[in-house]
């Protein structure tokens, strides 16, 4: 573990891959006080630059994340996860990392998966590396969730023609070209589909990589209910034509 003070004056992004100094890890968070310290500490064991976007939490998430060594950007009010991600992208555009990793705050993702995906991105064959829980050997996804996600996959295939097995996975690696075209306008939970829509529209090269989603009681409670799929669908249908470029 690096000391927390290192976060206050981080090295420039052109640092060599030791500590992945050319990479910014973006962690959107909203009231994650119970887990955020551990998530950030785990990330900081591998990554120098960890950025937590605090989406107007009511708890002490921001302080805990900062103490654990993350840079924290705080939304003055709660805006939604999509908005938090886009704030992270905007921060990245200002500071110019070569790679951006998006990582969930609730402990669902493994740092080792992120590193593996980043290594793949470094090879330069893809603009975006996407995680898939359905390519991993251990099928630990709860059954109803699996059906719902499969519906999401089908929807994505029909609307974007992307060939993916998991369309709602928060673990991604974006390269600079992908980062430049991201402009999320669906501030709520439909951003996963919006990111894929952007990939399709700009013909970004993408690759899907097996990873593990850890379903804890905490993440289950924090995660969205399946009913939200309806809301996401409506958001997408209304937005797709409106923002079509």
């Amino acid at each position: 573990m690096t000391s927390a003070s290192a976060a206050r004056s981080p090295a420039p992004y052109d640092a060599p891959p030791a500590g992945h100094g050319d990479t910014l890890v973006i962690v959107p968070m909203y009231n994650e006080g119970a887990v955020i310290a551990e998530t950030v500490a785990d990330l900081r064991s591998e990554f120098v630059h960890v950025l937590c976007i605090d989406d107007g939490s009511n708890d002490d998430s921001a302080r805990l994340a900062g103490d654990a060594g993350a840079t924290v950007v705080r939304h003055p009010t709660n805006l939604g996860q999509g908005a938090a991600l886009q704030t992270g992208f905007a921060y990245a555009l200002r500071t110019g990392p070569r790679y951006v990793v998006t990582f969930d705050a609730d402990g669902q993702h493994l740092v080792s998966d992120a590193v593996r995906m980043l290594d793949l991105a470094r090879r330069g064959d893809a603009d975006v590396v996407l995680g898939s829980r359905f390519q991993a050997p251990a099928r630990t996804v709860p059954l109803p969730r699996r059906w719902l996600l499969r519906a999401g996959v089908l929807f994505t295939r029909v609307t974007t023609r992307l060939d993916l097995t998991d369309t709602h996975n928060g673990l991604r690696v974006l390269t600079a070209p992908a980062l430049r075209v991201m402009d999320l306008r669906l501030h709520g939970m439909a951003h996963a589909s919006e990111i894929l829509g952007t990939i399709a529209r700009h013909r970004l090269r993408y690759v899907e990589v097996p990873m593990t989603v850890v379903y804890s009681d905490y993440s289950r409670a924090k995660g969205q209910s399946g009913v939200n799929a309806v809301n996401i669908l409506v958001d997408l249908v209304l937005a797709r034509a409106r923002y079509a470029r």
């Binding site: 206050r8 981080p10 840079t71 950007v73 939604g80 200002r94 500071t95 110019g96």
Partner: protein, 127 residues
Amino acid sequence: MIIKILLLGGLLYAAVFAYRGAPGALPLATRRLALVGALGAAVVATVLPGLVTQVANLVGVGRGTDLVLYGLVVTSAFLWIGLYRRLQEMEHRFVTLNRAIALERSTGSTTGSDEPGAAVAPPRPVR
């Protein structure tokens, strides 16, 4: 029969309006003229209630009251959609403003170059 075409046409246009929308001067002018027209029609209908029924019969509706009701339904569809769109636009500005403030306040953490403004989306035209 005529009323069916009119109502279906109105609803269809409302659906298109929801989907595509039309910012700009012409729709705004249309809306304002429609408002003036509706006020004028309301005045006429108040003074000459029988006229409404005559118009209703003309388009194949039994009572003038029913015609007014149908018109109200279609009009309210446009109202809801217009308000929804306006709210979306406002929300987007709110998010953009929030983001700008958040990035402005992020302390002692910027790495490499720091170009203010690069992160803020340009304003979108008013509808």
